[in-house]
Every structure is written in C-alpha cells, then in structure tokens.
Amino acid sequence: MKSDLWIVFAVTAAFLGFLMGYGVPPMQEVGIAAVGGHGGAAVENTAESDAVMEQYRELEKLTE
C-alpha cells in the first residue's frame, strides 16, 4: 500500500516538476521586475488596450 502511495506522490511530483520547469524560466528570461505581478510586458488582449478597457480590467479585479 505504502509503495503504491509513493507512486502517486512520484507521479504528482514529476508533473509538478515539469510544469514548474515549463512556467518559471520565462519569467527569469523576462526578468522579475518586468513581470511586476501584473502579467508581463508583452501581453495580448482580445480588445484594444484603451483607457476604457483598462478601467474595465480594474473593475474586473473587484468582482470574482
């Protein structure tokens, strides 16, 4: 039983390791300061990033 549980932990750790290896390096490349907690410099949005959309995004943060 214990060894089987370790299989679960090993598979989970392997996936996590892969996901971290996949997700974290891009931030290192861009630089932590550039990310600034707000999604990076080169960000695509479906709508134009005009003042209204910026206002909408601020409102969106308050809603979840």
């Binding site: 039983m1 089987d4 549980l5 299989i7 679960v8 598979v11 989970t12 996936f15 996590l16 996901l19 971290m20 996949y22 997700g23 974290v24 390096p25 891009p26 931030m27 861009v30 932590i32 300061a33 990310v35 600034g36 907690g37 707000h38 999604g39 990076g40 080169a42 960000v43 695509e44 949005n45 479906t46 709508a47 209204v52 959309m53 206002q55 909408y56 995004r57 409102l59 969106e60 943060k61 308050l62 809603t63 979840e64």
Partner: protein, 496 residues
C-alpha cells in the same frame, strides 16, 4: 475431533474474510492509481494535442494536491467552528489558523518579488455580512465550500448536494432582477450607471449587478501593506505590512483568545492533576504551544497547502508571461473555444486556489444551454464568462480536487458511498443556499474570501472571517434549538 474441525472451519472463515477485506482494499488502491493515470492521460494527451492546454493542466495538478491535503488534514471550516462553539474543542480551528499563517509565510517572498497573481478585494462591512450568511450556511450544511468538495471525493453524496445547491444559488442569485430591483437603493443604481459598462450588460436590471457596480466597486481594495503606505511588491510591504501586521499579529491574538477561552482551563487542570506547577508565564507559553501542535495533521496539510498555493501562483504567472496574456479567455479563443467568453473576452482565471465561482459557472453554462439568458449580468457576462466546463480552467482544478481527495481516501480506506436521507438532503440544500448567497455577497467562500485573502494581506479577509465566525455561532445555536425541539417532540409523542 469435532472440536478440531470446528476450529479449522472458524480459521478458514476468518482467513477468507481477511482475504476479502484485503481484496477490497487492493481494489480501492487500484481505483486510486487509476485516477492518477486518468489525470496523467488528460495532461499528456491534451498537451500533445495543443501546447496551450498545459495552462489547464497546472490547475489540474494543483487542484489534485489541494484535494489530497484537504482530505488528509480533514480541513473543514464548518467542523472548526462547530467544534469550537458546540463542544468547546478548538483543535481544527487552530489547525486552520496555523495553515493560513504558513500560507502567508510562503506567499510573502512571492509577493515581494512581484510574482503573485493575487489582487485585493474591496473592503467594507459587506464582507462581514457575507461572512455571516456563509457561516450560517456551512454549519447547517455540515461542510464549507472546500470541505464539501473533498467529502464528495470520499463518496459523501450529502456533500455533493451542498455543492449543487451552492452552485445553483450563486448562478441564479447573480442573475436575479425584476422584482429584486425594488430592493436596490437609488444611489447604487446611479453609481452603477456611471461606471459606463458595455451595452450588453443590463446593469440596472439585477440586484447583484447594482450591488457590485453601485456599491462594492466603490469600496477601497487594499492590502495591509498599502494601508501602511508601502507597496505589495517590496520586501517591507510583503513581510512587514502583509505578513506581520496582516497575518502574524492578528492570528497570534486570535490564537491567544482561543487559548484563554477554550484551552487554558483544561490544560492547567491536567497539570494540577499530575501534581505539576500550574502557574507562571512559562506554563502559559507551554500551554499555548500545546494547543498549536494539538492538530498536527491539519497543520501538516496546511503547510503543504501553503507551499502548493504559493507555487501555483508562481507557475500561473510564469505561463501567462510565456504565452503572453493576462487571462485564459485569450488562450481559449486561440484554441478555438470561444463560446461563453465574457464581453471582454475573459473567463474566470484566478491564478490561485479558488472554489465557488467555477462551480457557479457549471450551472451558468447549463442554464445557458437550456435557453436561459444569463450573459447580461456582470458576474458571468462582464467578468467570468460561462465556458464549457470541459475546458474551464478553474473547473479542472475543482474536478481534480475531488479526484485528489478520492485518491487519499481510497488509499486510507476512508472512501465510502454515503447515501443522503431526506432530512440530511434538506439541510444540505438549505446550507448550500445560504453559502451561495454569502459567496456572491463576499466575492468568494471560505477559501477565496478568507484563506487566500488573509494569507495575502488583503484587509477584507479577516472581515469575512469575523462574519463567518458570527454566522457559524448563529448556526450552532439554531441547530441546538432545533435538536432540542425535535427531542421534546419525540418525548411528548412517547408520553414521557
């Protein structure tokens, strides 16, 4: 001779029974491994199909870890408050506070580095009122939003009813207009109109819409760091403002209060009975510490939860940078799933652990498919969308959370299909209803509006917690009254 045959037969029966039990256990373990295999297959298969699906897999694997931790630590806010108020046992509550504290410790460096996906929620008395609704509901339902998920993973069908009731209530409440508009103050309507929302959002028709745009959005959304004049993404802001002032001091005071009211007397009595010295600051500190380590299982689960929550935010942020978007709506659009995106092209994509909104989205999507228009409100139409649950990022987290809990329950032989009775089902529906109202008023549940917010220094987190405690107290009092009433009725019918 006869005796020997009889004893051999008994031994055979015992052996057969043991073998059957072992076979049953083995079967459960194979189911658990099957679940892990299923999640692995989903992740690998979708990644091969399209690289973007890896973003959803992040939610999936962290959701699985959350489920495993919750089940292992029996992490339940409802039990925590019920045990405290009904039988004066603070173990679970202490475990949860410690877990929140540990999450805060792990989150602080990520916030300081500017890598956190967390954003503060509006702060005002609405958080306390929402917490009261939620607290009453979770005690009546017998489980909070997160524990209902892990209990579903244990085969508890009452918990599943709670989830369904909570989800349905949220989806309907977010869209309720017409007669409900009569209960909206004019100032909210005016303020909501001034926000200049897109034409597709009928902001003057809907109680929640006007509550959000006309009241909640006008409240300040600040962290403790910002209140103290610091920025979140600075060492002083993250560690001094959010962690020390926002978490360590209030959590320490709360635990001291719990110690004084619920733990101290029993601890000192134990010492006196053992003939030991029961006075002095050292004794008090030792008592305080004994309370903190009383629930190791919850604290260990909390530590792993805290680390997982923080890593989750880090990886999500990394992938957003890699793929170049702020919200998964862009990703879904790129892979051809554009149904159910909000008017801004967004979907619910918190970037951290969250429970209730994705549950409301399941129902929102189903209602939309049944021909009910619900994309004209702020909750679905403007912010979160109602994407197909099969590709809803946060839904992957909730499904995997149930799966993760099932895995640990199956391994520990704690998985058992529990059929609800009419009475328990009724309480589950009523409790889920109150939790649904509370979750929408507070913009989150015991996880999104309390656990995550407190751990990230959001000033509204403790307010929701305060309300939740008050609501739980009312819920416990109501249940005591109900039970006594039922008992009196039964005794009366028996002529006692």
């Amino acid at each position: 001779m006869q005796q020997q045959v009889a004893s051999e037969a008994t031994a055979d029966v015992a052996l057969a029974k043991m073998t059957l039990e072992e076979q049953e256990k083995r079967k459960k373990q194979l189911w658990a491994l099957g679940l892990v295999g299923f999640f692995s297959f989903i992740s690998i298969g979708t990644y091969i199909y399209n690289e973007y699906y890896i973003y959803l897999s992040v939610y999936l694997w962290f959701g699985m870890i959350y489920g495993m931790c919750l089940q292992y630590g029996k992490f339940c806010f409802s039990s925590a408050f019920r045990d405290l108020f009904a039988i004066r046992v603070p173990r679970m509550l202490v475990g949860i506070v410690i877990a929140t504290l540990l999450f805060g410790v792990v989150s602080a460096p990520i916030t300081a580095a500017g890598l956190s996906t967390f954003h503060a929620a509006p702060v005002s008395s609405h958080a306390v009122i929402a917490g009261i609704f939620f607290g009453v509901g979770m005690v009546i339902a017998g489980g909070c939003a997160s524990s209902s998920l892990y209990k579903t993973g244990e085969g508890n069908m009452n918990a599943l009813i709670v989830i369904l009731s909570l989800s349905l209530t949220q989806a309907l409440f977010a869209d309720v207009g017409g007669w409900a508009n009569n209960f909206v103050p004019d100032s909210w309507t005016q303020s909501a109109l001034e926000k200049g929302l897109p034409a597709s959002i009928t902001v003057t028709d809907g109680w929640v819409d006007q509550y959000l745009a006309g009241y909640v959005w006008n409240q300040p959304a600040v962290t403790y760091a910002e209140i103290l004049g610091m920025t979140n993404d600075s060492v002083s802001g993250a560690f001094m403002g959010n962690l020390l002032v926002g978490i360590i001091i209030p959590a320490g005071l709360l635990l001291a209060l719990v110690y004084a009211i619920y733990w101290r007397k029993g601890y000192l009595n134990k010492l006196k009975k053992a003939g030991k010295d029961a006075s002095g600051i050292r004794v008090e500190l030792a008592g305080y510490w004994s309370m903190i380590i009383a629930n190791k299982r919850t604290a260990i689960a909390g530590l792993i939860l805290g680390i997982a929550c923080a890593l989750h935010m880090l990886v999500m942020q990394g992938l957003r940078v890699k793929f170049g978007f702020k919200n998964a709506g862009v990703l879904l659009d790129r892979i051809g799933w554009d149904f159910g995106l909000s008017v801004q092209g967004t979907v619910f994509d918190p970037g951290y652990w969250y429970v209730t909104t994705q549950e409301a989205q399941w129902v929102g999507w189903s209602l939309q498919k049944m021909g009910i228009e619900n994309m004209d409100n702020i909750y679905f139409g403007f912010v979160n969308g109602i994407p197909n649950p099969a590709i809803n990022p946060a839904d992957w987290m909730s499904f995997a959370l149930i799966g993760g809990a099932a895995i640990i329950a199956l391994f520990h032989d704690e998985f058992k299909f529990k059929k609800p009775t009419w009475e328990t089902a009724m309480w589950s529906v009523i409790g889920g209803f109150f939790m649904g109202i509370g979750a929408r008023l507070g913009l989150g549940c015991n996880v999104g509006a309390f656990f995550v917010r407190v751990a990230n220094g959001d000033a509204s987190g403790w307010l929701f917690g305060l309300g939740m405690a008050g609501g739980a107290y009312l819920g416990v009092k109501f249940f005591n009254w109900w039970t006594e009433r039922q008992l009196a009725k039964e005794m009366e019918s028996c002529g006692l």
